[in-house]
Amino acid sequence: MNNFSKYKKLFLSTFKLSACTFGGGFVIVPLMKKRFVEELGWIEEDEMLDMIAIAQSSPGAIAVNSSILVGYHVAGFPGAMITVLGTVLPPLIIISIISLFYQAFRDNAIVNMAMAGMLCGVAAVICDVVLTMAGSILKKKRILPVLVMLGSFIAVRFFSVNIILIILVCGMIGAADTWHQGRKKSSR
């Protein structure tokens, strides 16, 4: 594939995804997974999760950060610039237009009904991707990842623990686990 068509695909994909990320940054995850992992095959599923971890623990919006990572992975620095542009343009255009008549937009009954319906669809999409991802972690048949998953879920959900802290702790758990397994292997 030549560079131009790759850039074009990157731009159009991120533009379309960004135009549809209602309801917060994580909504981009299933959309990116569908597009870049399943349809285009540019990224592996594990890599996608790593990217989300990086996007999540860096400053700024998750959607912007993860598109920078995708662009960088596919086509280096120019790729990242293109995906940022693709991600930023839809909200820029939409909000610019809406700012002209935002009170009418906010109070419009049909807009509100469509948004209420869409919120349910978005919730279903996120639940679908969580089920798939949690399934692939359970399939590894190791206890530690499952414990990490449950523990971080409880920490985020019920104790609102800072996300950076969770990332740090889980990274350390992963490191300790690798070290431990390495020792087990070498002692055999």
């Binding site: 400053p59 700024g60 669809g121 279903a124 950076i164 889980c170």
Partner: protein, 207 residues
């Protein structure tokens, strides 16, 4: 006569300086918002409020509440949406572009550095182990965000109400059908989102 013209010119220059100052201020404000909002989404809200309502007199509190509502109704990150909105209100389309650039600039630098490090070192066993430790945590975080969305969709509030039976029946129906279609046929999520918007308009206007 001549001195009057000179004064006029001086005022014009001052005006120009002030005009370009507003761009710089927009850039700097949203640069800070972009730099300090870690964790995305609602974490950015108080920061944005501080910059555009308290530090600068760009929006009133009512306008700020409006833009937060619109940011939730429209696609795109809240920080980008408010950068565009504030930029346009304060300094027109160019203001919107500059505020948006300011907002994503810190992300670009930091994330690209991390991406470079990731591709450079991810082959190492230790880095592999750390990343493997992170993956389940990422799934947990997405799950938590998903539950918040479900609660928002079913009850219209961000936290669970005391009366759990007060959920919106139409919302639950759209959600369940959407999820079944996704699980059963692996449909493109975009269709589910668009479809549930259309179904929402139809069902809510009938009932």
């Amino acid at each position: 006569m001549a001195s009057g013209k000179k004064k006029e010119q001086q005022i014009k220059v001052k005006q120009k300086v002030r005009d370009s100052m507003i761009y710089l201020e927009l850039f700097w404000s949203f640069f800070q918002i972009g730099l300090f909002s870690i964790g995305g989404g609602y974490a950015a809200m108080p920061l944005i409020q501080n910059q555009v309502v308290d530090v600068h007199p760009w929006l009133t509190m009512t306008q700020f509440a409006d833009i937060m509502t619109i940011a939730e109704m429209t696609p795109g990150p809240i920080a980008i949406n408010s950068a565009t909105f504030v930029g346009i209100q304060v300094a027109g389309l160019l203001g919107a572009v500059i505020a948006t650039v300011g907002c994503v600039f810190p992300s670009c630098v930091i994330v690209m550095t991390l991406a470079y490090l990731y591709y450079r070192f991810r082959g190492l066993d230790m880095v592999q182990g750390i990343l493997a430790g992170l993956r389940p945590a990422v799934v947990a975080m997405i799950a938590s965000a998903g539950i918040s969305l479900v609660i928002m969709a079913f009850y219209g509030e961000r936290t669970l109400p005391a009366d759990l039976t007060s959920f919106n029946v139409i919302a639950v129906m759209i959600f369940v059908f959407g999820l079944i279609i996704l699980r059963r046929w692996k449909t493109n999520p975009l269709w589910i989102m668009a479809g549930s918007g259309v179904v929402g308009v139809i069902l809510y206007s009938v009932f």
